[in-house]
């Protein structure tokens, strides 16, 4: 899962303190593996260095928690591109797909369209593997099948998620 892009995505909802970002990240994306504070702040300062966020409201007596982070146009463009581009279809990318869907729903983006784009990227890859399987040796076929069954599992997840988007939207937007 891409921590910098996920934090940027969360910031697109509204300017936030590092603490709030960590809490929301842990709630929606952490899944029992909370993001260490150190990583939150190091990620945010790299994002600031790269011009993707700016820092405002440094309150007097400041610890790191007095800072509010605001996404810039550069940052927002990066989130937009990440969400609209399908993920490279390969096995084990569920967590990235998952993060994209949840963020898209939070940000009121067309999650169903992203899933459609992802589905066609997956099917495109599955066609390539099927071609390899039909043209190649049994060993090639075996390897291609391994990829095909994993991609098929992703696709089933995509279908199931697509069918539940309305309910999911309610849950992540509370």
């Amino acid at each position: 899962m891409s921590v910098p892009l996920t934090l940027l995505g969360l910031l697109e909802r509204e300017p936030s303190h590092g603490y709030d970002l960590k809490r929301d990240y842990d709630t929606f994306f952490g899944r029992g593996k909370p993001l260490p504070f150190g990583q939150v702040y190091s990620t945010l300062s790299r994002l600031a260095r790269d011009g993707k966020v700016v820092i405002s409201d440094v309150a007097p007596g400041s610890g790191p928690d007095r800072k509010r982070y605001i996404i810039t146009d550069v940052g927002a463009t990066e989130v937009e591109q990440w969400l609209t581009q399908p993920v490279e279809p390969e096995p084990h990318l569920q967590t990235v797909l998952f993060a994209k869907v949840v963020l898209a729903l939070m940000l009121d983006r067309p999650a169903a369209d992203y899933l459609d784009t992802q589905r066609s990227a997956h099917l495109h890859r599955m066609r390539e593997l099927t071609e390899i399987k039909r043209a190649g040796s049994l060993v090639d076929a075996l390897l291609a099948d391994h990829g095909l069954y994993h991609l098929e599992a992703d696709l089933r997840w995509i279908e199931m998620t697509g069918a539940r988007l309305d309910a999911l939207r309610k849950e992540v937007r509370q």
């Binding site: 399908p86 459609d116 784009t117 589905r119 066609s120 990227a121 997956h122 099917l123 495109h124 599955m126 066609r127 593997l129 099927t130 039909r134 095909l148 069954y149 991609l151 098929e152 696709l155 279908e159 069918a163």
Partner: protein
Amino acid sequence: MSVVIEARDVTFAFGQTPALRGASVAVEAGEILAIMGPSGSGKSTLLHCLAGILVPDSGEISFAGARLDTLAETQRSSLRRDRFGFVFQFGQLVPELTAVENVALPLLLSGVRRTSALERAKAWFARLGLDGLEERRSGELSGGQAQRVALARGLVAEPQLLFADEPTGALDSLTGEQVMDLLVSAAREQGTTVILVTHEARIAAYADREVMVRDGRVNAPDRIVS
């Protein structure tokens, strides 16, 4: 490439139940197209409209550049007999006939002499790994064998277009893929255009392209990533 068959803005309802709500799709000559989508979305209805089995309530179907939906039923049925082949999920073999007679059926119906029809039908048995099963009746075939017989019947008359509705739906994965492999090879060899309905991605992956049917409409992917 040229479009061989096309649905434009087709609607169709079964009584009060709308099944298609403005479905459009165009299929190129020689193409193998997979129609995917959730159960009840209208895939079979779209296939039946394209094949001239159902007549749309509105919209147009054109085949080889001419309207198909406005033809009289007798003309549509001769078109189906002479130019189209069909493979469905189950129950398509005639139980009273032997396997080879079932395969020969489309030829017999379009007036080919019995001996030569049976001879052409027999040629498919070796090709589909069905040697020795020619004289069996459909009740004496396994599901996979029956499905290969049905495939042979769909292709024996070298149709311009093959319509297949979940042709592997009743088969296990390996047998299903073997049937698809044979279908694709035979279609490519004969230059047959194939329209294949399936909800299985691994089956759709044998096609050149897929479209999704949702709520009676067709969504084509607008972006292909390579």
